[in-house]
């Protein structure tokens, strides 16, 4: 009887795990390839993800590539669970683009060379902006920038 209970619990655990919400997956540095530009992802600080409501995770090496992917993906608005970008200051954390400050400056060296980093903490973001003579930009502006620079249709 006890064993049966254990099995039940196990099944329940697996069931609950299977139902869990979609969430950012850690990027395997040096192994995963960017789903937009095909480059192997080697720099943790800029890793980005596009997650669908079904839990499929597209990984990107940079904020630029995530923005470009949103332009070409053809995935319905309602099927998007969220866009996530690594906090530059805390590279183990992936945070929704809604909760991040994006800094744009030619002094910052991001993988696709646009000079974009994302930071969660507002005072750090202001510091980085001032140190790099950059500006804080919205997500929409980043998408527009990528559309223009790379001529993405």
């Amino acid at each position: 009887m006890i064993t049966l209970n254990k099995i039940n619990i196990l099944i329940l655990i697996i069931f609950v795990m299977g139902c869990s919400q979609p969430a950012p997956k850690p990027i395997n540095i040096g192994q995963d390839a960017c789903d937009y530009c095909k480059m192997t992802i080697v720099d943790k600080k800029f890793g980005s993800e596009f997650i669908t409501t079904k839990g499929k995770v597209f990984k990107f090496d940079s904020i630029e590539c995530l923005a470009a992917f949103t332009l070409i993906s053809n995935i319905d608005e309602k099927d998007i669970f969220g866009l996530f970008v690594t906090d530059f200051n805390n590279p183990d954390n992936m945070i929704s683009t809604d909760d991040l400050y994006f800094i744009h400056s030619k002094e910052l060296k991001s993988p696709m060379s646009f000079g974009l980093v994302a930071i969660q903490d507002s005072s750090t973001a202001v510091n980085v902006r001032d140190a790099s003579y950059g500006e804080i930009v919205s997500w929409g502006k980043i998408v527009e920038l990528v559309r223009k620079e790379w001529n993405v249709k």
Binding site: V42, K44, K45, S113, W150
Partner: protein, 418 residues
Amino acid sequence: MYKFWQIYKITVILIVLFLCTEFISARQYNIGNSYKIKNIAEAISIANDYDTLYIDQGYYYEFNLIIDKPITLIGKNYPVIDGDNRGQVMTVNSHDVYISGIHFKGSKVSFVDDFSALLIEDSYNCKIIDNNFSKNFFSVYLSRSYDCTVTNNEFKGNALSEPSSGNGIHLWYCKNITITDNVISEQRDGIYLEFVKNSTIRNNKSFNNLRYGLHFMYSDSCLYSRNLFVQNGAGVAVMYTKYVEMIENRFEQNYGAASYGLLLKDITDSKVISNRFYRNSNGIYIEGSNRVIIEKNDFIENGWGMKLRSSSTDNLITHNNFISNSFQVTASGRQNASLFSENYWSDYNGYDLDNDGYGDVPFRPVNLFSLEVEKHPPAIILLHSLFADMLNLVEKMIPTLTPETLIDEKPLMSQLKI
């Protein structure tokens, strides 16, 4: 008498000149345990323009060395300058600096700063010749510099022991740089170019790097030739660039799911000539590229010889050998706007009745099964199965799904000598 005066004058001039050269000539300093000057920082501070510093064999724990005047540094028997993971090892802020025979070690691994063993910033006419670099984050980093040479150096990074590693030779906003005869391994990218113009990369060997053997970003009008790229995460990536010439390189054994011999993304007006692609997951991958000439290359025993995305137009693929690739050419859709002509295909089984060296039946290098694999990658398990062979045979007889225009009208009957 007149002759005597002539000789006298010349002698006097010569003596004066001789004394002058003695007076203005550069001085030399020896650095080492057995000399008065024990460390390099001290020697740099007392040296004047165009002096030469000879560094004796030994171990120097020094970091943040700054060279702000044109001097020559020569190591005897490769003295080691070890930054001991404390930051930048050496920074050059001056023109006409010559560095040779030194072993640089231990630039700091950092997630925020790009520390390197040798940073050359806002400089010109610098020469980095015959040095060793080991266990560095970034090794040589040239920033906003021009007319510099990096030759005959050996690089061994820390990519195997550290999760994050920097690039071997990193160029950022540079012009007229020559990179030749270097051996680079275990870095992130062997050679990395970002916003570089008119530079030459020749005769280097780049292997076992974490990502690419050579990586171009926004670097127009560069040439790389006679390099060897073996067993990197991927061979070479050329991205968002115009007027690149890629000649006589070898791309070999770059394996892995996301691995390529050569990745071309958003490239225009470039040339890929006389290269050898041997045993890579993908020989060459082309996306968003226009007017690229691919000529006289060998594609041998790759998983995919050539992957051509339909976003590419007006490329010319001619006089290449496609030999025993699991898939010779694949395309992403039915459209193709590139021209294939006069290539040799090892799986062509047409005939040549008029004996002109060209097969009389056009060849379609894309088979149906490869399109299936493109859409559903796990279908690869059916490779060489009866099912896949039947699919291909039917499609060959009645082409309906493979790209209509991706066709070689004049396939060569015999292999080209390249």
